[in-house]
């Protein structure tokens, strides 16, 4: 069996920029890596399995007849394969990750250790209740923190991620309306600046989505929203702080108007990090809000999940919260499920997911929360907001800040492409930042700002780290304003140059297939 890198080289075009091409395609520590299908084999395995006892098969006539086609690697090969691949990723551990609305903060390693305690990690979800009391207590304690930090009535812990939490909140609203005999309310109002998941969630639950415009200062047009309220409106989905990084000053007034018109207020809590420990959404009239544990409470993003999206509810929506949930009865923790919901929870809209939610994320989030405490969490939001404002004021002389005069921002600073040179775009700035050693900010979102660049530094960056980032973005911004054409072809120094996304979509290759004929290079 070959070791990983031998026998495989990336197909390469002309070497550019005078760089010397290498035999392997590697450039010193920047290492190319083949697919497992190109380096593994069906006979190789990295796991020694104990001998099976001899028995007569009970598979009936269902035994597999054909090969699966799965390559195997020995342990050294596998460790090398995944280690080499990992080095082609940017990550928080490598540097500032200013992805707006994603809250890429440091992930404390204590939380990883806690989640791996066998008493949590090696626990079956259907284990007898008396054997999982500590796990239920973790859920109960975390729930208490979430409810107290938001000043809400209850929390549904089972949603698997933010969008799943949105669905949870919207289904509770729908159940509440149906209970009131007002199932005819079919319209959910969503501001233009909302995350794409908001309209997608409302539509998934059978609602019609109506857009609400933004004002010139980047906030929801309160008057337009009030004008749209009526007997057909089920509720609003509003993000606070919003996706322009601004606090919705009128949220309480909006909530009161929505309630008066018979609707409910869903708050997208993706940006809770800006206010955690300092402002409680329950004080703003919110009826439901999801909390991304993988943002505010620092459970790792893991390259795109797993997340966790508990939803806090007001008194009005609490009866409709999903099953299961944890309750304390006579000093013992119990799981309230379909069987035990009974009369107390007869209005629950039901189960959203097998089992009880993202336990591994709950343990990490509780570890994070206990570490910070009420005082530390207040400091978190203050430092997050301070860092963002520092970035905003340090860069507004270079990049256009469309809402720079709307007052302070919250946890993220928003810029536009307004003053870049003709032919230069937000994408060029983003790719230029890659060459400077940074992950770009969120680009082209929110949609209400042309060529948006949304920078969320988070509270876990030092002033020195911010100063270097600001310097880098200033430099790239000035180059984009001056029309430096080298920026058009950035990144130059990343493991890959700009990738052809059009080709990927036009001729989708979504799974590896054996090459039809041997490639020329392999024959060398």
């Amino acid at each position: 069996m070959s070791v990983n890198q031998s026998g495989w080289r990336p197909a390469m075009g002309e070497a550019t920029g005078g760089a010397q091409a290498t035999f392997t395609g590697n450039r010193a520590l920047m290492l190319e890596e083949a697919l497992i299908f190109e380096i593994g084999s069906a006979e190789t395995t990295g796991v020694d399995i104990d001998e099976a006892p001899k028995v007569a098969s009970r598979l009936g006539n269902h035994a597999r007849k054909s090969a699966i086609g799965l390559p195997g690697l020995s342990e050294p090969e596998a460790v090398r394969h995944y280690t080499r691949l990992s080095r082609q990723n940017y990550a928080i551990d490598l540097g500032l990750f200013p992805l707006g609305s994603c809250t890429m903060k440091h992930n404390p390693r204590l939380n990883e250790r806690m989640a791996r305690l066998p008493g949590f990690a090696d626990l079956h979800p259907l284990g007898p209740i008396d054997t999982v009391q500590g796990a239920l207590e973790v859920i109960h304690q975390l729930a208490h923190w979430l409810v107290t930090l938001t000043n809400m009535d209850s929390v549904a812990m089972s949603p698997k991620a933010g969008a799943h939490g949105e669905l949870c909140g919207i289904l509770a609203i729908k159940a509440a309306l149906e209970k009131r005999g007002e199932g005819h309310r079919k319209v959910i109002l969503v501001p233009e600046s909302a995350h794409g998941t908001n309209p997608a969630t409302a539509a998934f639950a059978g609602f019609t989505v109506k857009d609400i415009p933004a004002t010139a200062d980047g906030r929801v047009d309160t008057q337009a929203l009030k004008d749209r309220l009526g007997p057909d409106v089920a509720g609003v989905m509003i993000t606070n702080p919003n996706t322009c990084g601004l606090f919705e000053r009128d949220l309480k007034e909006i909530s009161d108007a929505v309630h008066a018109a018979g609707g409910y207020v869903y708050c997208d809590g993706a940006n809770f990090n800006a206010i955690v420990g300092r402002v409680r959404p329950g004080d703003l009239g919110v009826d439901a809000m999801h909390i991304n544990l993988h943002k505010t409470f620092s459970t790792p993003h893991g390259g795109g999940g797993p997340g966790s999206g508990p939803v806090v509810f007001s008194k009005a929506l609490t009866p409709f919260a999903p099953l299961p949930f944890v309750e304390q009865q006579d000093g013992r923790f119990v799981l309230v499920e379909e069987e035990t919901a009974g009369e107390h929870h007869a209005d629950s809209f039901g189960r959203m997911v097998a089992f009880h939610g993202q336990m591994g994320m709950f343990t990490r989030a509780l570890s994070y929360i206990l570490s910070h405490g009420a005082d530390g969490l207040k400091q978190v939001s203050e430092d997050a907001v301070l860092n963002a404002n520092y970035v905003l004021r340090s860069l507004e002389g270079t990049l256009d800040a469309p809402f720079g005069s709307s007052g302070p921002c919250m946890h993220e600073a928003l810029f536009s492409d307004a003053n870049l040179a003709q032919g230069f775009s937000t994408l060029d700035v983003a790719k230029g930042l890659i060459d400077e050693g940074y992950h770009p900010m969120t680009v082209y979102f929110p949609l209400v700002v042309h060529g948006a660049m949304l920078v969320e530094p988070t509270e876990t960056e030092s002033k020195a780290a911010l100063d270097q980032f600001i310097g880098a973005l200033k430099s790239v911004g000035e180059r984009a304003k001056a029309g430096d054409t080298a920026l058009k072809s950035a990144p130059h120094f990343a493991p890959r140059r700009r990738l052809d996304e059009t080709l990927a979509a036009r001729k989708p290759v979504l799974a590896w297939k054996e090459p039809v004929a041997p490639v020329a290079e392999a024959a060398e």
């Binding site: 075009g13 069906a42 009936g60 990992s86 698997k160 794409g196 140059r497 990927a504 979504l510 799974a511």
Partner: protein, 452 residues
């Protein structure tokens, strides 16, 4: 506070740069009525790493870890041995602390891994393509039902009685709101799966037939027969796999006519974790791919012609299509997909087949031994690593009593189907490679005592 780098001097300097005289000035947009004087009342202040570790370790110690006792629970979550290198690799910061790969030039590690994951899953399930993962098996199952509705433009989904009751429950919850019509039933405590009854229910209005393979009682249904019946009325067959290790021993659903195959990938790499996070598997035929939910990674080339990978076909997704998206899913289960993929790469074809063989052989040995316990009957004819016993009495209190004796015996059907008298005596026992002969003896002995 150990996670916050700003010093008081930094904060003062930064406020000066901003031109604000205090932190409070930055929160000026918060209405008076919602401002707090200090930290949120009623909660403790910060704690040291040592103090937090003490607190959580004490809570963990209140639980009975599966590895500490003879353990036989399954029903949608299985305890397998995960090689040490899996957990080491997924904790590399470059995977653990990366985001969704929206900037592909600096996310090739995650993207190539996802491409490999998709390819492994597609092959394992016997389909052309798989997506980059869903939340878990239950939500993947529901997404498949909605996909079948989009493909067939029909709304009636027929569920086999062998589908995990939580999966059915999730679908029922969602269908209340979406208008999908579900035809569901509970299983019967008999050796045969309910293929005949299921086929009878398929009619011209049926969008899809949902069948778990092996089913909740561990039995293996005849997918090809059901597929033929479904296809005769232009309905899709959705196969649900909650134990992917089984596919090392039994035929892949995609090779038996399933149009969409969904699954719970927890068995490989992920661990039990009290129910989550897990990893949903979702695969289908090439012609259905544009109706698929979730993220997809595809191969392409960069500006120098080098192979690379990107997220693709995103016009199906919420961040582009908003209310017209195929699903609202955004964050999926990336790190669990990585764990699954690494474990499967370590196993390879050979290892997976051996693992499946050991699971099946141990389950056969356990079934034979337990069926000798007076009063106990083995329900299944066919099974992989999980089977159902019919006890002479209600299984639920027996499970509790066995737990008191330090044996986690399995999942009682009374827990999964409360109020269904015909199922109350059923006990579902899972036997993986982690179970020893001594464990089986311990269960047999304890069961004999409790039933005596």
């Amino acid at each position: 506070m150990r996670y916050l780098p700003l010093t008081p001097t930094d904060r003062a300097d930064m406020l000066a740069t901003i031109g604000a005289d205090s932190i409070d000035a930055l929160f000026v947009d918060v209405p008076e009525s919602a401002r707090l004087d200090g930290p949120v009342p009623g909660l403790p202040n910060h704690a040291s790493e040592l103090a937090v570790e003490r607190h959580l370790s004490a809570l963990a110690a209140k639980n009975v870890a599966a590895g500490s006792v003879p353990f036989f629970l399954g029903c949608g979550a299985y305890r397998h041995h995960v090689p040490a290198s899996v957990d080491h690799l997924i904790q590399r910061g470059e995977y653990l602390t990366a985001y969704t790969p929206y900037q592909p030039e600096i996310a090739q590690g995650t993207l190539q891994m996802l491409f490999e994951f998709q390819s492994q899953v597609a092959r394992m399930l016997g389909c052309d393509v798989a997506n980059a993962s869903m939340y878990d098996g239950s939500t993947a199952c529901w997404e498949a039902v909605t996909m079948a509705r989009r493909v067939t433009r029909k709304v009636k989904a027929v569920f086999s009685g062998g589908v995990h009751p939580h999966y059915v429950s999730v679908a029922k919850t969602m269908a209340k709101f979406t208008g999908d019509v579900l035809d569901t039933t509970q299983p019967w405590l008999v050796a045969e799966t309910d293929d005949d009854r299921l086929i009878e229910k398929i009619d011209a209005d049926t969008s899809c037939v949902v069948v778990q393979y092996p089913d909740i009682l561990g039995r293996i249904p005849d997918l090809q027969r059901i597929a033929d019946a479904a296809h005769a009325v232009k309905a899709l067959l959705i196969a649900v796999v909650t134990e992917p290790v089984a596919l090392g021993a039994i035929e892949a659903p995609g090779n038996l006519g399933a149009d969409i195959v969904v699954g719970e990938g927890q068995s490989l790499g992920v661990g039990l974790q009290f129910g989550g996070p897990y990893v949903g598997l979702f695969a289908c035929s090439e012609k259905l791919v544009r109706q698929m939910p979730g993220r997809l990674c595809g191969e392409t080339v960069d500006a120098e012609g080098k192979r690379g990978f990107v997220l693709t076909l995103s016009t199906r997704e919420q961040h582009i299509r908003r209310e017209k998206a195929t699903s609202n899913i955004c964050t999926n289960s990336g790190l669990c997909a990585l764990a699954f993929s690494i474990h499967l790469t370590l196993l390879g074809e050979k290892g997976l087949r051996q693992l499946a063989e050991v699971n099946h052989a141990k389950a056969c040995a356990a079934a034979e031994r337990l069926a000798q316990v007076p009063g106990v009957e083995l329900v299944n004819d066919s099974f992989f690593n999980e089977f159902t016993l019919k006890l002479p009495t209600e299984a639920r209190p027996v499970v509790r009593e066995l737990a008191d004796r330090g044996v986690l015996a399995g999942v009682s059907l009374g827990r999964l189907y409360p109020g269904e008298d015909g199922l109350a005596n059923g006990l579902v026992v899972a036997v993986t490679e982690t179970v020893t002969e001594e464990d089986i003896e311990a269960l047999a002995a304890a069961l004999t005592e409790v039933l005596a």
